[in-house]
């Protein structure tokens, strides 16, 4: 099929229902989700194929099997004219192309605004319909300035599809899909693109140790490299716990927390995980009261069992705290007291400060959890770290706003298994929902990666600009990914019928229109292409910062 070949013509439709197109090519040449273009009187409409149905001129032509009664040739001629496929197209964007050269209305001096805008009208009857060409695809998806990243290709003809990196990081974004659909591979590529373009620093909470030094695909047994291996200069690896290793590799530094880093709110957030009682907040505030915010954790740990001076019971009695509640909390916190990455006081500089410093200076950091893979570790560490980051970025932004100076480096926090931190119950207590909701004003956004979008608090979901979703089987998950978007009914089927691997649907504010794509392959060629891209100069980078965040 040559790219500009017509595949049919418009036979009806409405803004509400979408367009109906009669196909002039066999149905099997067109797929659901195909990106089509309709040109009509100086307007170009861009749309998605959302349904195909078999139709006949008269039902009897399809119901009677006449094969054998007539020669095959005549049967074919008859069927060609009486049986056809009707295609439903969801028109999404339209673009003013102005009168053609040679048209009497053509004015060489006229300035035509060619940027695609949401559909507000319809093409004429019988307007020809064709599959989008490479030019059409880049016209819609390729950002006009730099900062485009090829995330994959159209499914039918393999035209490259760009995502706008500026938009991706202006608001929080999400990558969803059932297990094995390629979320982590795709995220790795997007982060590589982001890091390479120097548009933002990235902090990855790498729960499964995939991002820094890569992993071996269980499906293909091929080793896929990590970001630290390929972008050593710009990406720092950090492992949780003193002298921990990441899959046998020596990290750039390790993360050990001090007791003073833990606030009562960090404990309250673990209520479910530690099965804490309702009395906990009262006990915690009494602890802070008697030992101070910086010392309470260590002092509590140092209290002893039994009775007498320095015992828990003694402290409880003296501070009007229920003894059983104090003992209960102590028992529950034993799990924390035993953690190797929590120490009373670090000899050297705090590693949290180190992470923040790297991020502030535009480096990216991958925090691998190594062998600490329980939910407790993940919740506690991510929350403490993010809380501190939030404080720092708020401080820097306020300083920048009030006193001028340097804009903070935009920061993207990538979060695997995001539902653990952003579920309905946790969302109110962790820093993440605040970031998703309002931190874009402070140059911090989230990139959340999850298998179960329905488990993520809807208020967070609704804030996600760019959504990228692989195949999802569960209706609730599908509904969650599509929440708040128009054309949901059409997109629902498309999502459920994606290939189980390496196909995703791009959705949401960050993309000009929804489109299913085949993901870019994560392989040696990818790295070659990424690393050969011209490095942006420092001035470009400054310009970029002003550009991206100037709408606040």
């Amino acid at each position: 099929m040559t790219p500009a070949e017509n595949i049919g013509f418009v036979i009806g439709g409405s803004l509400k229902e979408g367009l109906f197109v009669r196909l002039t090519v066999p149905a099997e040449r067109i797929q659901e989700g195909a990106f089509v273009v309709i040109e009509s009187n100086g307007l170009k409409f861009y749309g998605l194929v959302v349904n195909l149905s078999l139709k006949s001129y008269d039902p009897r032509y399809s119901q009677d099997l006449i094969t054998g009664r007539m020669s095959d040739k005549i049967t074919t001629l008859l069927h060609n004219q009486t049986l056809f496929t009707e295609m439903e197209v969801l028109p999404v964007l339209m673009q003013n192309t102005g009168p053609e050269l040679g048209d009497p209305n053509y004015d060489p001096n006229a300035i035509v605004d060619r940027s695609p805008i949401p559909v507000k009208t319809l093409p004429i009857h019988q307007a020809p319909v064709r599959l989008a060409t490479e030019f059409d695809v880049s016209e819609v998806f390729k950002p006009k300035e730099k900062n485009g990243f090829v995330i994959g290709t159209t499914r039918e003809q393999g035209h490259p599809v760009h995502i706008d990196m500026d938009k991706l990081i202006q608001r929080s974004s999400g990558i969803f899909g059932a297990t094995g659909t390629g979320k982590s591979y795709l995220t790795r590529m997007i982060l590589a693109g982001l890091i390479q373009s120097k548009q933002a620093a990235v902090l990855v909470f790498d729960m499964h140790n995939e991002y820094a030094y890569g992993d071996i695909s269980p499906d293909t047994d091929i080793k896929a490299p990590g970001l630290c291996e390929k972008m050593k200069k710009r990406v720092k690896s950090c492992a949780l716990g003193a002298s921990a290793k990441i899959a046998g590799n020596q990290p750039d530094f390790d993360l050990v927390l001090e007791y003073s880093d833990i606030l009562p709110s960090d404990i309250e957030m673990l209520t479910r995980e530690l099965n804490l009682r309702e009395t906990t907040p009262a006990t915690l505030s009494a602890l802070v009261q008697s030992f101070g915010l910086n010392k309470w954790f260590e002092s509590f740990k140092n209290l002893t069992m039994g009775e007498g001076e320095g015992s828990i019971i003694d402290w409880a009695r003296n501070n009007n705290v229920n003894e059983a509640a104090a003992l209960g909390l102590y028992n529950k916190l034993e799990r924390l007291f035993r953690l190797n990455y929590l120490v009373p006081k670090l000899a050297g500089p705090s590693s949290i400060v180190k992470i923040i410093d790297y991020l502030k200076n535009g480096y990216s950091v991958i925090l691998s959890f190594g062998e600490y893979e329980t939910d407790l570790d993940y919740l506690l560490v991510t929350n403490i770290l993010t809380r501190k980051i939030r404080e720092e970025w708020e401080r820097m932004t306020n300083e920048y706003r009030n006193q001028g100076g340097v804009k903070p480096t935009p920061l993207v926090i990538a979060l695997e298994e995001a539902h653990k931190l952003l579920n309905r119950e946790m969302a109110g207590q962790t820093t993440f929902s605040t970031i998703a909701r309002e931190m874009r004003k402070y140059f911090v956004t989230l990139l959340i990666i999850d298998q179960r979008p329905s488990q993520i608090y809807d208020e967070v979901m609704s804030q996600l600009g760019t959504r990228i979703s692989g195949w999802l089987g569960d209706d609730e998950d599908i509904a969650a990914v599509l929440s708040g978007l128009s054309g949901r009914d059409s997109l629902r089927g498309m999502l459920a019928r994606l290939q189980p691997k390496e196909e995703v649907l791009l959705l949401g504010y960050g993309v000009p229109m929804p489109i299913p794509i085949r993901s870019r392959r994560y392989d040696a060629q990818f790295w070659q292409e990424i690393l050969s891209e011209d490095e942006l100069s420092e001035t470009d980078r400054q310009k970029f910062r002003e550009m991206v965040f100037d709408d606040f």
């Binding site: 032509y61 009664r69 040739k73 005549i74 004219q81």
Partner: protein, 213 residues
């Protein structure tokens, strides 16, 4: 356009059709569905094209007597068939005309006059007429009432296809059938009957191979 292809004279006519008396001595009887030409003798009159839609052989008075005889000799039989008082009558459906060298698929502006001569069409005439325009003349065939349209169409397409093949126009038959389907697809039963007739006529759609065999 040789004189030998002349075969009869007009007996009666109107705008849609005419009846022709067949002069048996002059040539073979033109078959059902074949294309004929009536060069109207008067100036400024067009040359009319038509299809043979019926061939009627009527009783001439002697036949009743002969038919009652047990034995009819060869001689008498031949005499009764050839030397007839009443001619064989052909009915011709008009499908277009030629005026000042231009073909039209409309009905003729005026009918031919009685006793005008009528000729069989040559392959070249058939090809020129049937290739002209976009099969407009087929509408006249589909409206024929005195015979089933499918039969007439099958006979016509089969004759025209041969002429077209001879002229190396291989796509013609397919286009003709497509046009028929397009015009008739609203009428399922009639269309299937017509296509059935065309199928029975065993017309080759890609004549090249068959013509060379």
């Amino acid at each position: 356009m040789t004189d030998t292809s002349m075969f009869g004279r007009i007996l009666s006519s109107n705008i849609r059709e005419c009846v022709v008396g067949y002069r048996i001595n002059e040539s073979m009887i033109p078959p059902f569905g074949s294309m004929v030409r009536i060069p109207v003798s008067h100036a400024q009159q067009p040359e009319i094209y038509g299809l043979v839609t019926d061939i009627q052989i009527e009783e001439d008075g002697f036949l009743r007597q002969l038919a009652t005889n047990d034995q009819v000799s060869e001689e008498v039989m031949l005499d009764a068939r050839v030397n007839r008082n009443v001619p064989v009558v052909l009915r011709i459906l008009f499908i277009g005309y030629l005026e000042n060298g231009n073909i039209s698929h409309l009905l003729p502006p005026c009918p031919p006059l009685t006793l005008d001569n009528i000729y069989k069409c040559t392959n070249a005439e058939i090809t020129a007429f049937t290739s002209f325009g976009n099969f407009g003349y087929i509408r006249h065939i589909l409206k024929v009432t005195n015979v089933p349209p499918g039969e007439l169409l099958a006979a016509h397409i089969s004759q025209a296809a041969k002429a077209q093949f001879a002229d190396n126009h291989f796509g013609w038959t397919e286009s003709a059938i497509n046009e028929v389907i397009y015009l008739m697809r609203d009428n399922y039963a009639d269309l299937l009957a017509i296509l059935g007739a065309i199928g029975d006529a065993d017309i080759s759609l890609d004549g090249e191979v068959e013509e060379q065999e």
